[in-house]
């Protein structure tokens, strides 16, 4: 049972991680928490689901479709709710509110369009369980694990080593300076939000597959966990999002397996609080170095 629970924890954790990656990416560039990320994730899941059930498109097509929709939503989000706020001297709370507005809008839109019921992918896609003796794992679990790790490494490399990645980091730190260095910051921001949203939508499809449920409020629930992971790992830190996600997943599962399931959410958040109190900048976050200059 122990190994099985570890697998359960890793699966859950990797879904948290893929969501947190999207948050982190946007936070990394814009220094804002995109509260609508969870809803883009949810819409992605629905789009994937519709493509599979209504249009009989295969799962790969569904993933691509979700990704495109997510990116398109990301573009709209940036144009409507983020860019207008960048022009003026604006408090850092404003984007929080506008993205919450978008999230409320998207959630109720989904409710209207797709109905409130939880829907699920045809069972063919959730696939068989592979029985590895000591534990069972489903194909989709393996895919999620692989994708989240793959994404983490890809994103890390991309941000640290590529020119595009560096321009993102520069924009993140100081838009004005980045502009002075010749970075088209507007483009960088749009691209990042689109990328993060596209990834979020793909995550939605995967999570929908893994847990058999796609419904309009899934964005909030998962988004909330994603936020927790975001700070657990350290804001804007890719590795942090990954490790944080896995830790939260394992912690939740273990608190059920070896503790009392009714305290699960308290354990998870209690853990985060304790951790933050010891390390205020999160697991992998860095404290700002400019103390007394």
């Amino acid at each position: 049972m122990f190994l099985q629970q570890v697998v359960n924890g890793l699966t859950l954790g990797s879904t948290y991680a893929v969501i947190a990656l999207g948050y982190t990416l946007i936070f990394g560039v814009l220094n804002i928490v995109n509260m609508a990320h969870g809803e883009i994730f949810m819409i992605g899941a629905f789009v994937g689901l519709m493509l599979v059930t209504k249009f009989n498109i295969g799962i790969i097509g569904a993933l691509i479709g979700a990704m495109i929709t997510g990116a398109a939503l990301g573009y709209l989000l940036e144009r409507v709710a983020l860019r207008p706020l960048r022009r003026k001297e604006v408090s850092h709370l404003a984007p929080l509110l506008s993205t919450i507005g978008v999230s409320i809008f998207l959630e109720s839109l989904a409710l209207k369009v797709f109905g409130p019921q939880a829907q699920s992918f045809p069972t063919v896609y959730s696939g068989q369980l592979l029985d590895l003796g000591v534990f069972k794992i489903s194909f989709i679990q393996i895919i999620i694990l692989a994708i989240s790790f793959g994404l983490m490494f890809a994103l890390r490399f991309w941000l640290a080593k590529t020119k595009a990645g560096k321009s993102i980091r520069a924009t993140a730190e100081n838009i004005e300076t980045a502009g002075l260095l010749g970075v088209d910051t507007r483009k960088v921001i749009v691209m990042t939000v689109m990328l993060a949203s596209g990834l979020g939508a793909v995550a939605g499809v995967l999570v929908g597959l893994a847990f058999n449920a796609v419904e309009p409020t899934m964005g909030i629930t998962m988004g909330f966990k994603g936020l927790a992971v975001l700070i657990l790992g350290g804001l804007g830190n890719i590795t942090g999002a990954m490790v944080g996600g896995l830790i939260l997943g394992i912690a939740e599962v273990f608190s059920v397996a070896y503790g009392d399931s009714s305290y699960r959410d308290a354990v998870a958040f209690g853990l985060i609080m304790v951790l933050l109190f010891v390390r205020p900048q999160g697991l992998f976050g860095s404290s700002t170095p400019q103390g007394g200059r």
């Binding site: 847990f211 058999n212 599962v253 059920v256 009392d260």
Partner: protein, 361 residues
């Protein structure tokens, strides 16, 4: 300006005008299938009653979203702005605990059609329900399941952030004890959860004879699927939340063998039932579930009480008349309120077979 210029003066005197009945229901959100069924049952009943022409009824729907504060606002609006004579709803017991006192204080009869938790009618004299309390339903289901399936040790799961599921869990526990079985583990989850693998992995390792679950269909369906997926084959006994066809729709094969107690059984060999099912099917293209049936009955009960009371506006008279409803022939069986304004009803134990709720015999 809070609108409402036209509706300002309630035309209380106009005899024969429609009785305004407010409905507070869970119309949007995660449990909206219940609210939808309730709404459909009510609308069907309203159309039939109005066609008959003895009393005319106007329904005013308000969405509670399954949220207490929304329910409070909706109720206040219905009572004080729309001047309804009575209220049907709300959907969840938790909501009723919040709005029941308001209706009671304002002297407006309020009738739950799906509020099955313990203590609902203790709220006040104006609170009624035709929902079968879980304290009646669950023991029946547990007993029958034990007899038919030979259970000894069981695991229990419930949603611990849902009032009614908690109350259902307590009833389950008592019933398990009363029937001489052993509870080997209790696991909780929360409404809106999607991942149950940790709980079920733990339960699977303990090898129970059955799992008893108190929860809404959305989570229930996922639990069923996950359980079957990881190889748990034992029967699952549910509570009131399982009664929705939505459970079978989303649970698919995994829902097979689920046992549940219900005051409603669409396959019942009864004229009234057949007529209702046919009419409902004609109108909505699907079979009515328990919630549709109970709300359908509820409106008929209201109509009868209104008729007997001879008023469309007097709340007090309606209350007293409601309290005296007896031998009402509804689709959910012969109906009467007991002294505590709870229903006395027959219970059928159902099992899911071939994608249908069928009677467990």
């Amino acid at each position: 300006g809070c609108g409402g210029n036209q509706s300002a003066a309630p035309a209380s005197s106009a005899a024969g005008s429609a009785a305004k009945i407010g409905v507070v229901s869970y119309l949007t959100g995660g449990g909206a299938a219940y609210g939808e069924a309730i709404k459909q049952g009510l609308e069907l009943a309203r159309d039939e009653i109005n066609a008959k022409g003895k009393v005319k009824i106007e329904l005013l729907f308000e969405d509670s979203k399954g949220d207490k504060n929304e329910a409070i606002n909706a109720t206040n609006k219905l009572i004080h702005k729309d001047n309804v004579v009575g209220i049907i709803g709300p959907t969840l017991s938790g909501e009723m605990f919040a709005v029941g006192p308001i209706a009671s204080q304002a002297g407006v009869p309020i009738m739950g059609t799906s509020t099955t938790a313990e203590g609902i009618t203790d709220i006040g004299d104006y609170v009624f329900r035709n929902a079968l309390p879980e304290s009646l339903a669950i023991p029946h289901a547990v007993k029958k399941a034990k007899e038919k399936l030979g259970l000894k040790k069981v695991a229990v799961m419930y949603s611990n952030n849902n009032d009614w599921a908690v109350s259902g869990f307590k009833t389950f526990e008592q019933a398990i004890k009363d029937n001489g079985m052993e509870t080997i583990t209790v696991e909780t989850f929360a409404d809106k959860d999607t991942d149950f693998s940790a709980q079920l992995t733990k339960i699977a390792a303990l090898k129970p004879d059955a799992i008893m679950v108190a929860g809404l269909y959305q989570e229930a369906a996922l639990i069923l699927k996950k359980a079957r997926e990881i190889g748990i084959t034992v029967p699952i006994v549910g509570n009131n939340g399982f009664n929705s066809p939505q459970l079978i729709k989303s649970g698919g094969n995994a829902a097979e063998g689920v046992v549940v107690a219900s005051p409603w059984y669409p396959g019942k060999d009864d004229e009234k039932v057949k007529k209702f099912v046919a009419a409902y099917k004609a109108k909505y293209g699907k079979e009515p579930d328990q919630f549709a049936a109970q709300s359908y009955d509820a409106l008929y009960i209201m109509a009868e009480a209104l008729e007997k009371a001879g008023t469309t506006t007097d709340r007090k008279k309606l209350r007293d008349s409601l309290a005296n409803v007896k031998d009402f022939p509804g689709v959910t069986g012969k109906f009467a309120f007991d002294a505590k304004r709870n229903p006395a009803m027959d219970v059928t134990i159902l099992v899911v077979k071939g994608g249908q709720f069928t009677e467990l015999k």
